[in-house]
Amino acid sequence: MADRKRVTGPEKSVVPLLEPGSLSAFTFDPEKRKDGRNIDRIRPVFMKTGVVRQANGSAYLEAGKLKVACGVYGPRQTARSKISSRGILNCDFKFSPFSGGRRRAYIKDSQEKEYSLVLRQALAPAVRLDLLPKSTVDVFVQVLESDGSAACLAAAITCAALALADAGIEMLDAVAACAVGYFDSTICLDPTDEEETYQSGSLVLSYMPSLNEVTHVIQSGEIGTTTTIKALELCVDACAQIQSVMQQTLAATIKEKINGA
């Protein structure tokens, strides 16, 4: 169905195939990952807050090639029909059209709708919504470049939590999230897009390190329980690392505000 509210191009277009000879043969080797990481290392992550000045809070996260931006608006008044004594958390996840291998349409597809739901499920337990009656907090995540869909979701959750903190929304803890890919018996942290094509399953964990509590777990694939437990432990460690970067970023923002203003 053509999107009549946008400039439309031809009805159908495809991503071209690569020439057989020029394919840089990629075989997945857990010992030697393409970017030189060990299987239990996450990509070095860069975070920044206050990137969207119009928003109440915002954050930008970069992990390798992955780039995610998030803006938080709120608390703002809820529409009359939905007033409740607890605040409402609205999450919106969107891939930019140029963010992946295939151009994405502007209309949300099922993956984006699912990720929006996961975002809300992962963040809502941490946000003190009971302190925001009759209010709505809107979280908008825009993925600029994606490198691994599970890693992208994890990055979005982390970025959103950072933006919520930047907006001054009271939370129990800043949620950090990380992703893991299962490759038969090997578990690899933070798989990239290329690595993802070889995985047999994935797991995304959203975790509150200070409270040692999990807000959300989503796993796909047929995995044994011991492997899952190992993966969860790996993720917990990684999330702690991620949260320390979040805290450093927030501290730096506050220092800037105190010194600069």
């Binding site: 509210k5 946008r6 400039v7 439309t8 191009g9 031809p10 159908k12 277009s13 495809v14 991503v15 071209p16 195939l17 690569l18 020439e19 057989p20 020029s22 394919l23 840089s24 990137v51 969207v52 000045r53 119009q54 928003a55 915002s58 090639k65 780039k67 931006a69 998030c70 803006g71 608006y73 703002r76 919106d92 969107k94 930019s96 059209p97 140029f98 963010s99 992946g100 291998g101 295939r102 151009r103 502007y106 809107d138 908008f140 995540v141 825009q142 600029l144 470049e145 994606s146």
Partner: protein, 303 residues
């Protein structure tokens, strides 16, 4: 940015009283933040009558422009443009499609400008606003009618396969004057595009490409967009920002290229603008375009 302009407001909002004269009896006086909230048009008027704008700029001063190319590696070409705080990212993705039967050698370029709810509290999730749709459409018109790209350059196999370039421009922070930022990001991204060599294989009716992206696009010109706002039908403000935009009586966008030729003029209604004003705007646009072109060259050289 010091806005400690005293604002004594008399009953009835006497517009003619110059701000420096305190008329008696002053019934009550307001601090500038409150005044800005309750009577924003008058707030701007007070500044403009002194030849300055609330953010400290003079009327003819544009905001600082910054361009970076190549941030998005999944795209065939990308650029981020900042105009003051207004930030937009343009990513161009090239895919393969069949050409139209009437133009078997012509490829396609599909520009779209999006103002997601992320960039400003005035945009809600859902279908695109009138502003983003009209900017998308005008950019599309300008690209087409100025023949920026020779569409037959995008031909892979006549009648069978051509490139389609999806140029998606996403605004990350909207602080006024989206049109200029969008055009700038688009042109920078187009100049940054590198397409891989593509061959059409009759045997399996498919196109295969080499891995390296080496072929640049040939742009016939470099159009730069320069927008002015008109306040009260008399003050011409260069590069209106988000505070000024809702109170403008009119806007004027000039799309000018490096030789001084024009690729577009858009004045979407509002208060009237005379010929002398149009001429002076065109002059100012020319100067600004030269400046922007310099910044663009610099950014592309850094890639």
């Amino acid at each position: 940015m010091d806005d400690s302009t005293p604002a004594s407001v008399q009953n009835g909002m006497d517009v003619d009283t110059p701000p420096s004269v305190t008329s008696t009896p002053a019934v009550f006086s307001l601090d500038s933040e409150t005044f800005k909230k309750i009577h924003p048009t008058e707030y701007h008027r007070r500044f403009l009558s002194q030849g300055v704008r609330p953010d400290g700029r003079t009327l003819s001063r544009f905001r600082k422009a910054k361009i970076t190319v190549g941030a998005i590696t999944t795209a065939h070409g990308s650029a981020m443009a900042r105009l003051g705080e207004t930030t937009v990212v343009c990513g161009i993705k090239a895919e393969i499609t069949e050409p139209k039967t009437g133009a078997p050698r012509d490829g396609f370029i599909v520009p779209n400008f999006d103002l997601p709810p992320l960039c400003s509290p005035q945009f809600k999730p859902g279908p695109p606003s009138e502003l983003s749709q009209s900017i998308s459409e005008y950019i599309n018109r300008v690209l087409e009618s100025s023949k920026l790209l020779n569409l037959s350059d995008l031909c892979i196999e006549e009648g069978r396969a051509v490139w389609v370039l999806y140029a998606d421009i996403v605004c990350l922070n909207y602080e006024g004057n989206a049109m200029d930022a969008a055009m700038l990001a688009l042109v920078a991204a187009l100049k940054h595009v590198r397409l891989p060599t593509a061959t059409f294989y009759e045997a399996d009716n498919a196109v295969r490409v080499k891995e390296q992206r080496t072929i640049p696009l040939k742009l016939s010109r470099t159009p730069i967009s320069v927008t002015f706002g008109v306040f009260d039908g008399q003050f011409i403000l260069a590069d209106p920002d988000i505070e000024e935009e809702p109170h403008l009586s009119s806007q004027l966008t000039v799309i000018i290229e490096q030789n001084g030729g024009l690729c577009g003029m858009l004045k979407p209604g509002g208060s009237a603008l005379g010929q002398e004003t149009l001429t002076s705007c065109l002059e100012a646009a020319r100067t600004r375009a030269t400046h922007i072109l310099g910044i663009l060259e610099g950014a592309l050289a850094e890639r």
